[in-house]
């Protein structure tokens, strides 16, 4: 697989490649107190049955590198928060997996190669932001930091890594390592999380990695302020309803006394939000469908001009010069139609040229009708015709869909107007009451207090909205910049993705960046001419591999080939068809043989995936580790050890066969 020779201006980054892993006293891996492995370049595959701790192994490696284990429920907002909020989770995660007895001694050591350095560190799963050991090897000399305290070692490690990587902060590395380079058991699709995509784009494609931080902050600020503004509005509404209640109490005997205004308000709001969702959904569907139609139309235009050119070719290729109107007239009238000469010699010269298949005007020798060539041209013409016909059908079905979505959008939009009107009517109706409470002193004061609180709330809301809008502006600018950078890079990046993904799916794939409001930037992958959002035509397992392809392509594009990092993939094969197992294996194998690294775990079974990776990589670019040897097997597992053996054997044979 060719590395991109892009001439883009941005600096590629370096990421750490896992070179060595040692786990000590990880209770799960009971066979040995110490489990260790050299991890050479290429594909490192940890194969074993379910329940042997494959995911734990990958999580531990990532933990060693980043210092965190991601909390499954935590959504990504910004790299800084992601790191901070996840720090405490490692304890929870490992507590269940490591017995109390091993708690003190248990540790993980990872050596990683980045840029010109080899960083070797040791961490305990239960010590936050602290390293038990760190050494840094550069240009043949090793520096150990045994004398420093754990926190300092952590800081030094982070600094060294950031310096080598070309990133701005350690957060950014953590983000890339855990959310872009790792496809873990949670199977979060990169392309589906707009915030992750956006951050990755800032980091990977942006002109300025500082901006990545700022953009994330701006986004975060926008969301916070937006949420605050809405909360304040809610508070104001509640206060208003209290005030309203108060007024009713005063007015007495109002039948609406017991009406819960907040509930009513929320009801209106819920209706509005629901309709709003409908509008957005229709807009998305419509835009998708329009894109598809545009695709078809563009393809049609191109094909049609080829069709016309091909047809014109047939018409051109078959000219009989004697049938040309001027020649024909000249022969009939015995007179040159061009100069008017009736001289016998002139006319004879015309007939002579014609009989010699030469042009009487310029003398060019004309070839006779080439029946074989014409038949071939016809064949091509019929092919184009069939393609055009297919495009026609597809375009007309898109046009139908567009009509349908337009209708739906129209009706949703008008429903939205109604819902918003209802909401605003409601608010006006409950605002407009004249305060008749001043007479009663005590209640009057309460009312005044409420009113002033409402006023304050409204002012507060405006402040939030202003801040929100300012943040939104920053965010939008950043989005615009990164979208521009990405677009500039598309020509190089998209082929990388297509190369990988198409080798897997065997279908035309393309990927486009889209701006969604208010969600932000998002990748949209299209299979054939249909965008992926109509995801039914691609199975879930296939989608995993398309997502992995996207991660691979991103790495190939932005990570320096001399320090390419390691992609961590946790048991990806799911329930692929056998045909796709081979293709997926081929895709992973090609990545591995292209100077890139994968640390992958897999079930040891009859899957063709590993066999194909092995066939593609061979001994020198793939290492297979029998995980069954690390741990005590269950009875059932032991009973089928022979099966495991033969499965391992087959893969090992494939490794050797290359």
């Amino acid at each position: 697989m060719a590395e991109t020779s892009s001439a883009t201006s941005f600096e590629r980054i370096a990421l750490p490649r896992v070179a060595y892993v040692r786990l000590q006293d990880f209770t799960l891996f009971s066979a040995d107190r110490i489990v260790e492995a050299d991890v050479p370049g290429g594909v490192f595959c940890l194969a074993g049955a379910n329940g042997l701790g494959k995911s734990t192994f990958l999580t531990a490696v990532n933990y060693a590198m980043t210092g965190i284990v991601p909390r499954p429920t935590l959504k990504f907002d910004s790299p800084a928060e992601y790191l901070k909020k996840n720090l405490s989770y490692a304890d929870d995660y490992f507590t269940g997996r490591i017995s109390e007895a091993d708690r003190e001694t248990c540790e993980i050591c990872v050596a990683m190669e980045i840029g010109g350095a080899m960083l070797t560190l040791t961490r305990s799963p239960f010590e936050v932001e602290s390293l038990r050991d760190l050494s840094i090897e550069r240009g043949g000399s090793i520096e150990s930091f045994g004398d420093e305290d754990g926190e300092t070692r952590e800081r030094l490690f982070r600094e060294a890594l950031v310096a080598e990587s070309g990133l701005v902060s350690f957060d950014q590395f953590v983000f890339l390592q855990l959310l872009v380079l790792t496809f873990d058991e949670r199977r979060h699709l990169l392309s589906w999380d707009s915030k992750v995509v956006e951050q990755a784009l800032y980091l990977l494609f942006g002109d300025d990695r500082e901006q990545a931080e700022n953009a994330a902050k701006a986004r975060r600020l926008y969301e916070q302020q937006d949420s605050l503004a809405r909360n304040t509005q809610y508070q104001v509404t509640r206060l208003r309803s209290q005030l309203e209640d108060l007024r009713r109490v005063v007015e007495e005997n109002s039948p609406d006394d017991d009406v819960d205004l907040v509930a009513q308000f929320q009801g209106h709001e819920a209706v509005r939000d629901e309709v709003d969702e409908r509008v957005k959904r229709s807009e998305e569907l419509l835009s998708d469908e329009q894109l598809r139609l545009n695709d078809d139309v563009a393809a049609q235009v191109e094909l049609r001009s080829e069709y016309e050119a091909t047809f014109a070719n047939i018409m051109k290729g078959t000219h009989d010069i004697s049938k040309h109107p001027i020649v024909r007239a000249a022969m009939d009238d015995r007179r040159c139609e061009i100069c008017g000469s009736t001289n016998t010699e002139s006319v004879a010269s015309i007939s002579h040229s014609v009989s010699e298949s030469a042009c009487p005007l310029c003398g060019a020798q004309l070839s006779a009708v080439d029946a074989a060539a014409e038949a071939k041209t016809y064949e091509r013409l019929e092919q184009i015709d069939a393609q055009l016909e297919a495009l026609n059908e597809s375009a007309s079905s898109h046009a139908d869909a567009i009509r349908r979505y337009k209708d739906e959008l129209e009706s949703a939009t008008s429903d939205l107007d109604l819902a918003e009107q209802a909401l605003s009517d409601f608010m006006v109706a409950h605002e407009g009451h004249v305060l008749s409470l001043t007479a009663e002193d005590g209640i009057g004061r309460i009312a005044q207090h409420l009113e002033s609180a409402i006023q304050k709330g409204l002012e507060q809301k405006e402040v939030h909205k202003k801040k929100r809008d300012a943040a939104k502006k920053h965010w939008a600018e950043a989005q615009r910049d990164v979208a521009a950078s990405y677009t500039a890079a598309e020509d190089d990046f998209i082929p990388l993705f297509q190369d990988l993904a198409e080798s897997f799916l065997g279908l035309d794939l393309s990927i486009a960046l889209e701006e969604r409001k208010p969600a932000g930037l998002q990748f949209v992958v299209s299979v054939g001419s249909s965008t992926r959002r109509s995801a039914n035509d691609v199975s879930e397992s296939q989608r995993y591999f398309i997502d992995i392809a996207l991660r691979m392509a991103l790495c190939q594009y932005v990570v320096r080939p001399d320090s390419p990092g390691t992609l961590l993939i946790d048991t990806p094969e799911g329930s692929l068809d056998i045909a796709y197992e081979v293709r997926a294996g081929d895709m992973l194998g090609r990545f591995g043989t292209g100077g890139r690294n994968i640390l992958i775990t897999a079930n040891i079974n009859t899957s063709q995936l590993l066999l194909e990776v092995a066939r593609t990589c061979g001994d020198d670019r793939m290492r297979l580790v029998r995980m069954t040897e690390w741990t005590e097997l269950s009875d059932v597992q032991r009973a089928s050890e022979d099966l495991f053996d033969s499965a391992y054997g087959a893969i090992e044979q494939a490794l050797g066969s290359r």
Partner: protein, 198 residues
């Protein structure tokens, strides 16, 4: 500009359908039928721009499809058509081309309209058919504008045509295939033309 492939097809289809029974097809009949076929496609809610080439009305000739004349010239030099006393006829080579081209879907899609035009012309004497066609609103308008050259199927005269189409559609009811519409419409207009109320 390159002659569009459909013009070659239309030209061959029309000459083949009209045959040799009246000595062949005249130049203006070729354009008349092409134009009527185009109108029938418009009656079938297809945009005029989709026809593939345009028609104009000039003092010398109306309707006139430049592409049809170009196609005719090329087909003559290809030997696919011949002319006998200046009337146009399809040669066996042309029949073979026609059969082949009819299988191409861009051409096949036009068949209903070409059929409609051919059936209309063959149901009447050719001059009668031409007279009828010239009662069609756009050609009538171009005639009454004193032969000022104009492009057909665009401009205000199209509104007249559409009004005409609405009535035609109402009169025909369910039977509004291009073939029925064409023959009935042309028969009707021919009767109008010869009634001489102009």
């Amino acid at each position: 500009m390159e002659t569009p492939s459909v013009a070659y097809f239309d030209c061959l289809y029309i000459l083949s359908a009209l045959g040799s029974g009246s000595g062949g097809t005249s130049h203006s009949e070729l354009h008349d039928l092409g134009y009527l076929a185009c109108l029938l496609s418009m009656l079938d809610d297809k945009p005029a721009a989709d026809w593939g080439y345009s028609f104009s009305a000039t003092r010398a000739s109306a309707p006139f499809g430049r592409a049809l004349t170009d196609a005719m010239e090329t087909l003559l030099s290809r030997g696919a058509i011949s002319s006998d006393a200046r009337f146009l006829l399809v040669t066996p080579q042309g029949e073979a081309d026609l059969e082949r081209w009819a299988r191409l879907s861009a051409n096949a899609r036009r068949l209903p309209y070409l059929r409609g035009a051919a059936a209309s012309a063959l149901s009447l004497t050719f001059p009668a058919f031409s007279s009828g066609l010239h009662e069609e609103p756009q050609l009538r308008a171009s005639g009454s504008s004193g032969g000022v050259p104009r492009v057909l199927n665009e401009g205000p005269a199209v509104n007249l045509l559409h009004h005409h189409f609405e009535q035609l559609t109402r009169g025909l009811g369910e039977r509004r295939s291009p073939v029925v519409a064409g023959t009935v419409w042309m028969t009707y207009l021919t009767a109008t033309a010869v009634s001489g109320d102009d």
